[in-house]
């Protein structure tokens, strides 16, 4: 199985006529995803790779005989993102991937709060979405179908990453080692995101296919402390292995600088790589030095759990 999406999941692309969105639509269709429509205001009647375009989600739903799609990939510019996500949430869409970056925090917080009230889930913003290897992908994750197939093979490891590119690097390493991936989620690199590690853990916990979790993390924010607390409070069946990038940012001469993603800025001692590694290890989550150490450790942890 998988988390959040499966072979039957239908979704739409908001902002479908944008350059990146057109590529993303092609990639997802080629991979086998079910895209049932797209929305760009003023572009009703067009098609993008055979996908019909509408002015509103209401029109799209009507066209689909009143059936509300399961998800939406939002690629509209930052100033219009909140409105687009609200449109999706009010339509009853439950899984929303926000690709757009540079959205003001006030808007992100409002979208997340409304999603919570509606029982919906937001992935991102500033992310590449998620992929269930061999089944479907929702977002640009893994790139063209051919490339995605090379890096992502079905398997039993769940991947969550603050970096879209590193989601693929880690999954490829797991695939090459014969472990494969159950679902990989690019959760986004911003200071406020819709779904954190801890918030996605219950989904993986409920997914029988998943036997272990690998996370990619960076300095900045308190998300790792939240995961450590979740692990301590919940007797999870899943071993978690973490990789921490950006240790060099702990150096004195790097203080106050931001590298990589908007969310990496270190605002207090708790956000530093050193502190995060300590928190994770304290909760029994080993933090590896190198990506290529991950497969062996995953195998070892799975073996330990099944022996116990």
């Amino acid at each position: 199985m998988s988390i959040l999406i499966n072979k039957d999941t239908t979704f739409i692309i908001q902002g479908i006529t944008g350059r990146e969105a057109i590529n993303l639509t092609r990639e997802c269709l080629d991979y086998g995803s079910k895209i049932v429509g797209g929305v760009t205001p003023g572009r009703k009647g067009r098609e993008v790779h055979g996908v019909p375009v509408f002015d509103t989600i209401a029109q799209l739903v009507e066209h689909n005989g009143g059936v509300v799609p399961d998800g939406s990939v939002v690629t509209v510019p930052p100033a219009g993102t909140k409105d687009a996500v609200f449109e999706a949430l009010y339509a009853g869409i439950k899984t929303i991937v926000i690709v757009t970056e540079r959205i003001p925090r006030r808007d992100v917080a409002a979208m997340v709060e409304l999603a919570d009230l509606n029982g919906a889930r937001i992935i991102g913003p500033n992310c590449l979405g998620l992929i269930v290897p061999g089944v479907a992908k929702m977002g640009g994750i893994g790139g063209p179908a051919k490339n995605a197939a090379q890096a992502y093979q079905p398997g039993n490891v769940g991947v969550m990453s603050r970096s879209g590119g590193m989601t693929t690097e880690i999954s490829s390493t797991l695939t090459a080692a014969g472990l494969g991936v159950s679902t990989a989620v690019s959760i986004g690199g911003d200071a406020i995101i819709g779904s954190t590690y801890a918030e996605l853990m219950p989904y993986f916990e409920a997914d029988e296919q998943t036997q272990a979790i690998v996370i990619y993390t960076e300095p900045g924010g308190r998300m790792e402390a939240q995961l450590a607390a979740w692990v301590k409070e919940n007797n999870s069946r899943l071993p978690i292995i973490a990789f921490m990038a950006g240790k060099f940012m702990d150096d004195d001469e790097m203080q106050g600088m931001s590298f990589g993603h908007a969310g990496t800025i270190v605002e207090g001692k708790e956000d530093s790589a050193t502190e995060k590694i300590a928190r994770l290890e304290e909760a029994g989550i080993p933090v590896v030095e190198r990506i290529d150490e991950i497969p062996a450790l995953v195998k070892q942890k799975i073996a330990e759990r099944s022996a116990a």
Binding site: P104, G143, S163, G189, G268, I291, D292
Partner: protein, 405 residues
């Protein structure tokens, strides 16, 4: 974007929060006029976007207007942490009975704004939180539902404050919370908010920081404060020549994104790396194996040949850089062949042999076969995804600095 204190006070004032009858000026003689208008002892405060102003001598007390002018003249000339003051604020010296702290920040884990209040004002709130946690009240509020004053009241009560102070501070904190949201702030702080001997409450200092991403829709406020477009986001960070060169290359072409930083790096390994997470991972991998990077960089979003070339040239033109390592995590959007063409072009244009200059090329992914063909042609050492980021970084260290540690 950070605001000067005189601007932050104006923002606070516009939100209906009481402030003193202060004046801002860039001229010492005018400081005297302001002090005369105030008509009593004053405080002259340097207006700089950096901390430690008091310690550096940027805050002085004056009993007479003449003294205010003399202090203003001194402070206007005083550079603090490399910052020249924008001007001085002339503030009536307040007769303070008690100082309080109030602030609003984002809590990324709760995904909501967070109000903070303490009856131990005038000092750093993080220090208070650590040493006197029972003197700090905290409370989240919604970005969706209407704000109501009781939310601020609860936070103040949680700090152990009651009586008149609770009643007076409640609407002030409520207004601060509202202005935080309305103006896309990431920090809105009044420290201290002071209770004066006459029982009134007034903001004696304020810190405001607006989120850069929100500036587009806050143009009216920015204009009203008299801040010109040329001030940009007011980064206090001073870019190096390398950083400016890379920025110019990036700005010249809309395709893809490249970034380069070298403040804090002084090694000899030129890094052409990407994307966001890959760059962090690779910089660590180089350093952990004893390598000394000359710079940090990020390639993403499928840059043109010209852009990749421009970045490589900027790195190769840095002092002490003889060779570069071109490495990325697996790419799905950026094209391997385009980056390969770009870095080879940079070598050739600088009269260098690509095979000698490019220590290692490790970018697997989209269009890799085409890329590897080009690299073969020039005899450049490259590897595919079967070589890990760690191993590739190790080879770069070995080839550029000798044995990897």
């Amino acid at each position: 974007m950070r605001f000067f204190e005189y601007e932050a006070r104006e923002i606070v004032k516009r939100a209906g929060i009481p402030v003193t009858d202060y004046g801002f000026t860039t001229d010492a003689a005018e400081a005297k006029t302001i002090a005369e208008r105030i008509g009593g002892p004053t405080v002259i405060k340097s207006q700089v976007l950096t901390g430690g102003r008091m310690k550096a001598g940027g805050v002085k007390f004056a009993d007479t207007p003449d003294e205010a002018q003399a202090h203003a003249a001194d402070i206007l000339k005083l550079e603090i942490n490399g910052h020249e003051p924008r001007g001085v604020l002339v503030d009536p010296k307040a007769d303070v009975k008690q100082e309080y702290y109030m602030g609003v920040v984002w809590d990324g884990a709760a995904k909501k704004p967070l109000m903070l209040f303490s009856d131990m004002g005038g000092i750093d709130i993080e220090q208070v939180a650590e040493e006197h946690p029972d003197h700090v009240g905290r409370g989240h509020f919604s970005t969706l539902h209407p704000f109501s004053d009781f939310m601020a009241k609860q936070v103040i009560a949680d700090a152990g404050v009651t009586g008149k102070a609770l009643q007076r501070c409640t609407p002030i904190l409520a207004r601060l919370a509202q202005l935080f949201l309305d103006n896309d702030m990431i920090l809105a702080e009044i420290n201290p908010i002071a209770e004066l001997q006459d029982g009134s409450f007034v903001a004696l200092d304020a810190h405001m920081e607006m989120e850069n991403e929100g500036m587009g829709r806050q143009k009216a406020l920015i204009k009203a404060l008299g801040i010109g477009a040329e001030e940009g986001t007011r980064e206090t960070y001073v870019p190096s020549a390398f950083e400016e060169a890379v920025h110019a290359v990036d700005a010249a072409d809309h395709r893809g994104v490249i970034q380069g930083k070298d403040n804090g790096f002084d090694g000899n390994i030129g890094l052409i790396i990407g994307a966001g997470g890959g760059s962090l991972t690779l910089t660590d991998a180089v350093r952990q194996q004893g390598g000394k990077p000359a710079n940090y960089s990020e390639i993403g979003g499928n840059p043109s040949v010209a852009k990749a070339c421009g970045l490589a040239k900027a790195v190769l033109q840095k002092d002490g850089v003889e060779k570069i390592a071109v490495m990325m995590s697996i790419v799905s959007n950026t094209r391997v062949d385009i980056v390969a063409r770009g870095v080879i072009k940079a070598c050739l244009e600088l009269g260098k042999d690509p095979a000698e200059t490019i220590a290692i090329f490790r970018i697997p992914g989209a269009w890799e076969d085409e890329g590897f063909k080009i690299l073969d042609k020039y005899g450049i050492e490259y590897c595919d995804r079967s070589v890990s980021l760690w191993e590739a970084a190790g080879r770069a260290v070995e080839k550029i600095q000798g044995a990897a540690a």
